[in-house]
Amino acid sequence: MYRYDNHDQTLVEERVAQFRDQMARYRAGRLGESEFLPLRLQNGLYIQRHAPMLRIAIPYGMLAGYQLRGLAKITRRYDRGYGHFTTRQNLQLNWPDMDDVPDILAELATIQMHAIQTSGNCIRNTTSDQFAGIALDEVEDPRPWCELIRQWSTLHPEFAFLPRKFKIAVSGATTDRAAIQVHDIGLRLWYNEQGELRVRVLAGGGLGRTPMIGDVVRDDLPWEHLLTYLEACVRVYNQFGRRDNKFKARIKILVKALGIEEYRRRVEEEWVHLKDGPQTLNQAAVDAAKAHFPEPDRRPVAESAIADFERLRSENRSFARFVTNNVTDHKVPGYKAVTLSLKRREHAPGDVTADQMEAVADLADRFGFGEIRVTHEQNLVLSDVPVDELEVLWRELEALGMANPTVGTLNDIICCPGGDYCALANAVSIPIAQALQERFEDLDFLYDLGPLDLNISGCMNACGHHHVGHIGILGVDKKGEEYYQISLGGNATDDASLGKILGPSFFREDVPDVVDKVLKVYVEQRHEDERFLDTYRRIGLKPFKERVYA
């Protein structure tokens, strides 16, 4: 885990004092509503449908047990005793009192946390792979690089008033679990044939009302230049991104309008003047960043313990299901990563109670070196569990209602807060997720369907990433009525693709039936062991369309 030094701690504390002052000036009428707006947004404070909403930053999804306990305390004292993990690996509080926000920020600072740049037209929280540092297919741990980017982007004086929000994701593995192709900037760490670390820089991806896959700006950037190159990329966007139309202000529109060659030319031209400047990284700086993410002190796990685990797995069907779906292989033999499901029918996807937060923090201390990761699928991960403790952990999670053995299945729905909470939403999304989870809860059926991403957004801002769901559901508003548009074939990983709209939208109550028909076509048409996505790619939209609109 990254630990603050005096510099980091001073910065967040001064930020709290600054916001307290801004809030006081706003309440005293010395700061107008429209002028306070970007200031509060850059401190994570939204005004939502029912109440303010506070979005707390969880840099690249990494949380320590003591931080999660602190968050639990904050939700009890200042909110309604629960929080909501988002697709950007952040935590949202849905019911804080606006005047409490400076105090909440002050409490966050005591646990080395903040809400800086979780919103607003600035560089947002950098996201990454939830299996960073432990994945079998990792070539470079992205966390130190994310941390360097976090520091570079936090309160950057030149980029606090960009044309629009700006999101960066980093992957260091051969499989992309950070959706880098659908970010404003996506970064892929890789090694060339000479064994030198290089960065592939993509720009112009994104979802929202004009979804696009990012283009490669620079394939083989030497790592020393990461920050200066990012500075050039964002500076070109700051200067030339559209500011006349909010809906055309994202970098993807600029890259599309200029063409990737011209965008690249401008970036390179800018970078010539920044290259080798003071922000150029060196080995000592990177080593210092890496020292914050040491290998935990893992005890050796005996071969016999691994054999015992396999025996337990074969004897206990429920445990076996959990292992198959929620447990991921680890680079160290004898260790596993465990995904804790935040998907239960009685709660919105991603919601966690304060009691659960504390319990998870305890489990992290007992089983996972006090570390928790937040996934962009709105689940939590314990990243370092010895196999001989898996069964005990599983029983504890069962008791907490966090052992749903459905990770990666249709039931593991990504879902934005939708019209129940969000002022931007055109339609509710949580009740759609709940209706689908109720309809498709039979585990044998879910397992038979195999890996399936179903993503729901309540408006075209696409916080629920519906464009990259194998099945995507988008709430739309037609003359004050809620309807739902369904798309198929989206994918957020390596071979990223955007879903295609099936056809006219549906009434809310019909959505489960429509999904059922889509699944039936898949089951009838699939080849053996073929994923939903691959069947769709092979047979196209037409058979689905014919069945659904028959």
Partner: protein
């Protein structure tokens, strides 16, 4: 649209409230104002560059070419306009002027200049900031000094935080 001729009540200069503020700002693209000294739109300044009591006003969408940067060096003062406080292009302009083109004179922020932007402006190379008239100067000075630390290098700070940390450890 601002009045075509603006006298600024409060000017922040080099981190303090300036006692004197003689420059007025004219947004009139067609005609020169009577008053001197005056900051005028870039086109007018280029056409009247022999008048030493005029200074150029850069619009936020100005494309800062090498030749333009060279011409600007003739003026001891360059003003950058913020048509709206949310328009962040002026920050990049100031950094480019200062860092890439080594402009030696005074860079002034004018227009929609608010208390809470001053710290960023100073870090990007503005020497002086002409506060919008409704802004409280005491708030401005407090906001300007809200931070004693920073993560990035900028026009003033040329040593990266990661370098400083290594030096201190």
């Amino acid at each position: 649209m601002p009045d075509s001729l603006v006298h600024v009540d409060h000017l922040i200069a080099h981190g303090e409230l300036a006692a004197e503020n003689s420059w007025c700002v004219s947004y009139d693209e067609e005609a020169l104002p009577e008053q001197r000294p005056a900051i005028v739109p870039l086109g007018l300044w280029l056409a009247n560059s022999s008048d030493a009591e005029l200074a150029p006003l850069l619009a936020s969408d100005t494309e800062l070419t090498v030749s333009l940067a060279k011409e600007l060096k003739a003026s001891p003062l360059v003003a950058v306009n913020f048509p709206a406080f949310t328009d962040g292009r002026g920050y990049s302009l100031a950094r480019l002027l200062r860092e890439r083109f080594a402009y030696p004179g005074e860079i002034r922020a004018v227009g929609d200049v608010l208390v809470d932007q001053l710290n960023y402006m100073r870090r990007c190379g503005f020497d002086t900031m002409a506060l919008r008239d409704d802004q409280h100067p005491e708030d401005a000075l407090r906001a300007l000094n809200a931070f004693s630390v920073r993560y990035q290098t900028d026009v003033q700070e040329r040593t990266a935080i990661f370098t400083k940390r290594l030096e201190n450890s």
